[in-house]
């Protein structure tokens, strides 16, 4: 569990590979192609890459027009600008129109640590999840980024994929080969279930190892597909434990935690939602520094697990 890979590079390489096999694929970017790695497609297929300038609203609606003419546009920017600045274009031109547009939100969560709150997307999953016809994918590692691209191509309609700027460990599912649509068991346990996605799945697995030494058994389930969410799977993984924790690099409002709570509304078990506590981010020297500050670490997960089991007070 130590091999690191950069998800955005994995994304760019996979996009080029996929585009080689499907000439309907085109890419648009708003002057961030060197960060989102759509530049790799530009180098390979310049005629299929559209630099749209720093004008995200136009870019998203242009992509809708391309999609309505049979293309499969992959639209790139930082998560914040793509889902924030262009929200209403995503809503009307893409989601309402059921346009086959793939929205690639890069530098998600706190991963653009230095740039501060303006660039840190902590609401993107919430707003994309609220849109009818939208699929929302939050891959847990670089391999899942490629899987998410493949899945997006199978879906005839809008898809939002959230990609981190930070290197991520390759993780192994307990049952390999399952669809991204299904919440995936990463490691089983008896006492508590942790639902996580993105970088937080790694943290949850590390928390599980720490807690195992204390005699606490954690089940970790990765939920890359926040929407559509398999509620039955969430209920199944949560029914034989004493409590549930959700953890995501996103606001506690509207994201994975909210989706899990909706699925477990009738469950008698306590559920604790971990994420950014309705706050904006800020600048820091590293991504890790922000994750510590905002309580999104394996230690924070351990603390919450102990509290849920009555072992210790939560601070």
């Amino acid at each position: 569990m130590t091999k690191l890979a950069c998800p955005r590079e994995a994304y760019g390489r996979h996009l080029v590979k996929t585009a080689a096999a499907d000439e309907r694929i085109v890419a648009l970017d708003a002057d961030l192609s060197g960060s989102t790695m759509s530049c790799l497609l530009r180098e390979e297929y310049p005629e299929r890459f559209f630099e749209m300038g720093i004008a995200e609203q136009n870019m998203v609606a242009v992509a809708a027009g391309l999609a309505l003419s049979g293309k499969i546009p992959f639209v790139h920017s930082f998560s914040m600008f793509l889902t924030g600045r262009a929200f209403e274009q995503v809503r009307q031109s893409v989601a309402l129109a059921k346009a086959n547009v793939k929205l690639i939100g890069s530098s998600c969560g706190f991963s653009d640590f230095g740039d501060g709150a303006t660039h840190q997307a902590l609401e993107d999953v919430a707003v994309m999840r609220a849109l009818p016809n939208m699929t929302v994918l939050v891959p847990m590692d670089a391999a899942e980024v490629a899987e998410a691209v493949d899945l997006a191509l199978e879906i005839q309609g809008p898809v939002y994929i959230r990609i981190s700027r930070s290197p991520m460990e390759y993780l192994t599912k307990a049952i390999p080969g399952s669809s991204l649509f299904e919440p995936a068991l990463m490691a089983d346990g008896r006492d508590l279930t942790v639902f996580a996605n993105g970088l937080m799945t790694t943290e949850a697995l590390q928390a599980r190892e720490i807690l195992a030494k204390e005699g606490i058994s954690l089940r970790v389930v990765n939920v890359s597909c926040v929407k559509p969410l398999s509620k039955e799977a969430i209920q199944r993984w949560a029914e034989d434990v004493q409590g549930v924790i959700t953890v995501e690099e996103h606001s506690v409002i509207g994201g994975l935690g909210s989706a899990v709570l909706e699925a477990l509304a009738l469950s008698p078990r306590p559920t604790y939602v971990m994420g950014a506590e309705d706050v904006f981010g800020q600048s820091a020297q590293s991504h890790e520094e922000l994750l510590v500050y905002y309580g999104l670490t394996k230690e924070a997960i351990c603390q919450r697990a102990r509290f849920l089991l009555g072992r210790r007070e939560a601070s």
């Binding site: 300038g53 998203v60 027009g65 003419s69 009307q92």
Partner: protein, 276 residues
């Protein structure tokens, strides 16, 4: 594409205006003003200029038309019905619960509708995407987008105008329905968007300026827009909001107003008898 017969086109414009009134009906609000100001432009597109097949609305070689000022879609519904995309009897169901004729255009509900618009400022960008797709696919279809003059306040319009100029999409034609009225009154008093033609020209567009109710001028401009110069084309069409219905012309309240039974009948009479 039809032959150039101005009397025929004028009769079709009357049919479109009648369809607008029938779609609005009695005692229900409807976007009369902007639909009427666009009516001659829409007529010229569907009955003269555009290559399209009502029995094959998804034909990949069709010319595309997007009403960026989506509230004026009543003119498009009337034209689509007159072309045979769907029966004209459906027009009065506009905005009724479950109708395939929504208050604003929805592509997956209505045959012949190309995009979803309504929130203003987005249609020209969608048209640009379609124009770029035509280039990639080496197809020679054209993309026509009607935008409102008050809609030019939306920043996204100028993003699209800039991008179309950069990408030299001369298969993209923006038609500005320059009726000089926004929803709440005259734009010159409320929010003047300035010299529309000069603005487009300064962004690198080829600009044609016409009387949008002079059918001959409209078809001449649409023909002139065919010439490939590497520049997108803006046709600034000077129009009158509510054109063809005397009591609604230049009256802001008929941007989205209801007709009484008497007004409804009077509107149909005037449309039938006026040489618009």
């Amino acid at each position: 594409m039809q032959k150039r017969d101005l009397d025929y086109l004028k009769s079709k414009a009357r049919a479109v205006r009648e369809g607008i009134v029938r779609a609005i009906g009695v005692d229900q609000k409807g976007h009369l003003g902007g639909s009427m100001s666009s009516a001659d432009l829409v007529t010229a597109l569907y009955f003269y200029k555009m290559r399209h097949w009502p029995d094959d609305p998804k034909n990949p070689d069709r010319d595309r038309f997007i009403f960026s000022k989506g509230h004026s879609v009543l003119a498009q519904y009337a034209a689509l019905a007159e072309c045979g995309y769907f029966p004209a009897e459906a027009l009065p169901t506009t905005k009724q619960l479950g109708s395939f004729l929504q208050g604003h255009p929805e592509r997956d509900r209505t045959p012949g509708i190309e995009a979803n618009t309504g929130s203003l400022g987005q249609g020209l960008s969608i048209g640009l995407g379609m124009a770029l797709a035509a280039r990639l696919d080496k197809r020679d279809y054209k993309v026509y987008v009607i935008v409102g003059d008050a809609e030019l306040a939306e920043g996204q319009i100028w993003e699209a105008v800039t991008a179309a100029s950069f990408y030299r999409t001369d298969n993209l034609i923006a038609i500005v329905d320059h009726n000089k009225m926004q929803a709440t009154g005259p734009i010159v008093q409320l929010y003047d968007v300035g010299a529309v033609g000069k603005k487009f020209a300064s962004f690198g567009w080829r600009v044609l300026e016409i009387d949008g109710h002079d059918m001959e001028a409209v078809v001449d401009a649409l023909d002139a827009a065919d010439i490939s110069t590497g520049q997108p084309v803006a046709i600034v069409a000077h129009t009158v909001k509510g054109k063809g219905v005397s009591f609604a012309e230049n009256v802001a309240s008929f941007h989205n107003g209801a007709l009484t039974r008497e007004q409804y009948q009077q509107a149909l009479r005037e449309i039938a008898h006026n040489e618009v």
